[in-house]
Amino acid sequence: MVKSFGEFLLFIQSMLTRKERVAVLWQRTIDECVIIGINSIFIVAIVSAFIGAVTCVQIAYNLTNPLIPKSTIGYMVREMTILELAPTITSIVLAGKVGSSIAGGLGTMRITEQVSALEVMGINSASYLVLPRILASMFMFPLLVILAMALSIIGGYLAGSLTGALSAQEYIEGIRTDFIPYNIVFALIKSVVFAFLVSAISSFKGFYTQGGALEVGAASTTAVNNSIIAILVADFALAALLL
């Protein structure tokens, strides 16, 4: 465990020393933004809209006390979505999609000697292959989380209205009650940290894959597992530190 962590730190260091030219990094980062961000919009949209909807319905189901106003449902949907569900669940979904893709892609490049080909050319393969992925993740994850927040709240609105759990007026009143802007900042800080963890851990696992196709699959699985655990640990640590 300690050895792996040390190797991970050395991996990060190797990526930051002897960096490629800015123009190359920029182009690679933009390419990765498309792969990591744009290609993930659909799955993030579906997941977040349904999470908002289910959250709304389940809160309404549990909130039977007539003394509590129904607008509380909208308030709770907003708080849960912004503080926890949008950043954390979105990042876990992306750990599955993006993390496995990064680990699988780098693992395949490693076993087919494409990484060695870069090294022989005198190119810092970690800097060329990994740094743009990490930068792109740290840029795209917050944008996807903002999208997830909006769609979750809209999902809750639609679910609440369509099922008759509460009126549109009550829901809107709820989501406008006691809004704390810092919560958005907190969620975005979380998403940046989660992005780094998912992309760096997945890159590390993929980059050092040895063997064949079976090992590439195993590396992807390990990358997703470790990324999710890291997200949950970081989630607790950030909540304890920043709230």
């Binding site: 002897r18 087919t112 060695s116 022989v120």
Partner: protein
């Protein structure tokens, strides 16, 4: 010229290279010959810097490569072209982009037009002038090797390394790849090192051959001398091929060197 001095490498206490000392001459096809597991590929990886030897030194035209400053190693690496066993083409890029890649990365001052001319020249040189738009997954194994060679020579490399260039190819394509490597070596006067266990390659392009056995250099010479080498391990290796046995028979009958006994003659037997 590449000089290898007393290179040793072991994995988990198991010695793979036991003090190899040899020289790869400029303008020649230098073959690293030996059976599987004799340390050929490990030596090649030590030379190109993909692996660090435990002991010993490697010198490129008088400049020490092993344990030297990163900048100096990088400068040497920019002069290296390598053809990998599996070609190692970047599968997200077209053939054209694969050949252009080292130019874009290593020669940022080169204009787009200059790059295009160089890529087109290299693709034409390997006979693939019409394959630029294809993806690596759309071309055959032999074509991949050609693209690999074009990519290796694109930045005007001084040293060309080929790791088993014939693996997975049919005999006819293998000969064509060998001929291409041989022609390029002599045309540009580069130092070429080819790892192989293919006796056809020895006959075709073996200007200078180094025979490795269990991590040791047992013999070195050229293709005309190899049949008369008095090293039992080398003899056993060479004559395990029925094709070479046939060629030797022709050789004895025609009193020529092995080169005189062409593959065609051997096939006729």
């Amino acid at each position: 010229m590449i000089e290898v001095h007393n290179v040793q490498k072991s994995f988990e206490g198991n010695p793979v290279l036991k003090g190899i000392t040899c020289t790869f001459e400029t303008g020649k096809c230098n073959l690293l010959l030996g059976g599987s597991g004799t340390g050929k590929s490990v030596l090649l990886q030590c030379i190109v810097g993909l692996m660090k030897p435990d002991l010993g030194s490697i010198t490129f035209d008088g400049t020490v490569f092993t344990n030297n400053k990163v900048d100096i190693r990088q400068e040497i690496r920019k002069k290296i072209g390598m053809l990998f066993q599996g070609s190692a083409l970047f599968d997200s890029m077209t053939v054209y982009q694969n050949v252009e890649f080292p130019l874009k990365m290593l020669t940022p001052d080169m204009s787009r037009e200059e790059r295009r001319d160089r890529v087109e020249f290299c693709l034409k040189r390997v006979g693939l002038e019409n394959a630029g738009t294809k993806m690596p997954s759309e071309i055959s194994g032999g074509m991949k090797k050609r693209v690999g060679i074009a990519r290796a020579i694109a930045p005007n490399c001084t040293y060309l390394f080929c790791d088993e260039p014939n693996s997975g190819l049919d005999p006819l394509t293998s000969i064509k790849i060998d001929e291409l490597i041989h022609e390029i070596t002599h045309e540009y006067g580069i130092t070429t090192v080819v790892v192989t266990h293919d006796m056809n390659s020895v006959v075709e392009i073996g200007d200078h051959i180094i025979f490795l056995y269990k991590g040791l250099k047992l013999w070195d010479g050229n293709k005309d001398e190899i049949l008369n080498a008095q090293v039992p391990e080398l003899k056993e290796f060479i004559f395990s091929s029925s094709l070479v046995r046939a060629a030797k028979k022709v050789d004895d009958e025609t009193e020529g060197g092995l080169a005189a006994a062409t593959t065609d003659e051997a096939i006729n037997i």
